[in-house]
Amino acid sequence: MWHRIFALVIKEFLALLKDKKSRLVVIVPPLVQLFVFSYAATFDLNEVGYAVFNEDAGMASRDLLARFEGAPSFRLVGYLDHEGQIAPLIDSRKAVMVIRIGPHFTRDLLLKHPAQVQVILDGRNSNTAMVASGYVGTIVTEFSRTWTPTHGFPGAPAALEVRAWFNPALQSRWFIVPGIVGLLTLVVTLLVTALSVAREREAGTFDQLLVTPLRPVEILVGKTVPGMIIGAFEASLIILLAVFWFQVPLRGSLGALYLGLLLFLLSGVGLGLMISSIAVTQQQGLLGAFLVLVPSVVLSGFATPIANMPEFMQNLTHLIPLRYFLIILRGVFLEGADATLLWPQYWPMGVIGITSLAFASWLFRHRLY
């Protein structure tokens, strides 16, 4: 039996890797994407363009503006000298933000009146606007804090001491890169497996496979193993790059991570083979892979938190294996989680994997054309 399965595994590898184009498709794009996406996918602000409309001639406003000039999140685009210039600048997206300081800013501060700063933000990208608004708040508060004691204002009765756990500098890259490990692993395993049965069906070789002494379970194992090996290989490669190239800390145990990876691959391959056995043509197989891939990317919490979704969507996400694996990845990488803490994430992936594999092998015989 093992001999037969082994022969099938070899055949699957050959079918996949003998063609130069499909070999390239499996290996090169994931690596390119890892680099491009890891650098591109960021919610951090970096040199966001802003303009200044300062009607105040005093030193307090200069002092405040100097803090913005020193911040790496912002880049000064220019100074305005009348109100009419604000709208065209924001409309044309040359600046995301305009800081407006009224004529009495310094005078008010020196007279110990509260002074006002106005910030106008481009809300087209609501997230940039929100994050920028947070940064501005921090800069202005910081300015206030240094201004108060030296200029006779009463000190604040209470102050915030803010600290971020696990990711002290709040870099989105630490959040995104472990996510990309899961995302690309899923893409590769789905693509490799979703077309494998459909291709044979289209070529008619699947019927031949069914009349050989191989039992459906053996065909299933033969089709599962190559997908898992390729997936594990790519995932390991990406994990290595995440740690050594992108310098994301790996704080938890590798064992917990690889147990998660194994179960995740099982569920990914299971879904892929299930799609493949339902599909009659490769086009349908590919579409099916797509219909699994897109919700997985969107609803897994890869880019936006699951907690922000409406209740019914949150319930739906329990069907998505990537959801569990992302928690494992981020838990192990950043929070130093171990296998016991992650147990609630392991078993659902196992259940999804075994159910879909069982369904796929049933379909092998019950869906003939």
Binding site: K21, S22, V25, P29, Q33, V36, Y39, A40, V48, D91, V96, K112, Q116, V117, Q118, V119, I120, L121, D122, G123, R124, N125, S126, T128, A129, M130, V131, S133, V136, G137, T141, F143, S144, F153, G155, P157, A158, V162, A164, W165, N167, P168, W174, F175, V187, L191, L195, L286, L287, L291, L293, V294, T304, A307, N308, M309, P310, M313, G331, E335
Partner: protein
């Protein structure tokens, strides 16, 4: 006449293979539902631990602002250790900690520290939580100063105004960009598969021995799928406006014209991929990798291009979706801002031209 025949054949192929119709109509529906409801950057009901070691009217007045806030789902703790344990287990996303001597310090005129710990793994949510806590703190300071009849401790007041999207609804920002992702899928994926299938089945050769010119074959393929794509577009815009209640402040006509331009670019990309790949497996994967994922990540649909590293910013210039996303976000939320629309439309024209030219060059009546 020959062209009509070709288009008829393509149209029949679309009608008879349900999966093409599915891509054009069911896919946008599904994607808009998934993305529209699934992608949200608005943190709401964030589980937040409130640690009050020694409750008093002062601490209550501070925590009250969190109780009423729609952004937080407060969990109460009386010891920091329990709260830290909960943070470690992921039950809460952040902690606001008022130590036992908060009141004494407040009354003695010292600055009383309020500890704020956030789980930084999801940096974006963490930052939003920090922002909200800071806002709550500022409001509390103002109320406190007023109640005590003292001067305000924060001399500079920040007044923020957000244009185009005052409520900062992330849906208003994401749904227009989403249309670009969907159009990329319809345009590129569908055509890539269709033409690759003709190569694979050998029907392309059959077409070549007929008197039709290459130009006619290409146009015959483009027109039906163009119409299919425009149908999908209208459907998506209708859903965006009526279902997701995204304002459409610019003109619909301008939106349709620029969309047509982008659809041509996407179709050309699909054709190019399929002529290069000539097999469905490679064409399908290439279409996903070269069009869908970049449209998702590099187009400015969700991640701001301005904040990416410079080399990646340059790279985004070859992604057609980038220009279309800029147009969509502007036409939907800001209106007909010609300085944005014209520049980006021009870029789309150039990209479409380049891809069409490449397709024309790579497709010849020649067999390998």
């Amino acid at each position: 006449m020959r062209l009509r025949g070709l288009m008829r054949k393509e149209a029949l192929q679309i009608v008879r293979d349900p999966s093409s119709i599915a891509i054009a109509f069911v896919l946008p529906l599904l994607l808009l539902l998934i993305f529209g409801y699934g992608v949200s950057l608005d943190a709401k009901h964030v589980p937040l631990g409130l640690v009050v070691e020694h409750p008093s009217p002062q601490t209550t007045s501070f925590t009250a602002s969190f109780q009423q806030s729609p952004y937080f789902d407060p969990h109460h703790f009386s010891h920091i250790k329990e709260a830290e344990e909960a943070l470690r287990h992921g039950e809460i996303k952040g902690i606001v900690w008022m130590r036992g001597n908060f009141d004494e310090q407040l009354l003695s005129g010292e600055t009383a520290p309020i500890g704020v710990f956030v789980n930084g793994v999801d940096a974006n949510t963490a930052r939003l939580v920090q922002g909200y806590v800071q806002g709550a703190w500022t409001t509390w300071l103002q109320d406190y100063a007023r109640a005590q009849g003292k001067a305000l401790a924060i001399p500079v007041k920040l007044e923020q105004r957000v244009w185009f999207n005052p409520g900062l609804r992330s849906r208003d920002y994401l749904v227009p960009g989403l249309i670009a992702v969907i159009m990329t899928l319809i345009g590129a994926l569908l055509t890539a598969l269709v033409v690759a299938r003709e190569w694979e089945r050998g029907t392309m050769e059959a077409l070549m021995v007929t008197p039709v010119a290459i130009r006619e074959i290409l146009i015959g393929k483009l027109v039906p799928y163009f119409l299919l794509g425009m149908g999908g577009l209208l459907f998506s815009v209708a859903m965006a406006v009526w279902m997701f209640e995204v304002p459409l402040r610019g003109s619909l006509l301008l939106l349709l014209a620029t969309s047509a331009l982008f659809l041509l670019a996407a179709l050309a990309m699909g054709l190019l991929i399929s002529t290069l790949a000539k097999n469905q497996f490679v064409a399908g994967q290439a279409a996903i990798l070269a069009t869908f994922l970049p449209a998702f990540i590099l187009s400015g649909f969700i991640f701001d291009i301005g904040s990416m590293p410079k080399p990646i910013q340059w790279l985004t210039h070859i992604i057609a979706a980038r220009y279309y996303v800029a147009i969509l976000q502007t036409v939907f939320l800001a209106g007909n801002v010609w300085s944005v629309v014209l520049v980006n439309a021009l870029a789309l024209v150039v990209i479409t031209g380049i891809f069409m030219g490449l397709v024309r060059r790579r497709t010849s009546k020649r067999l390998e």
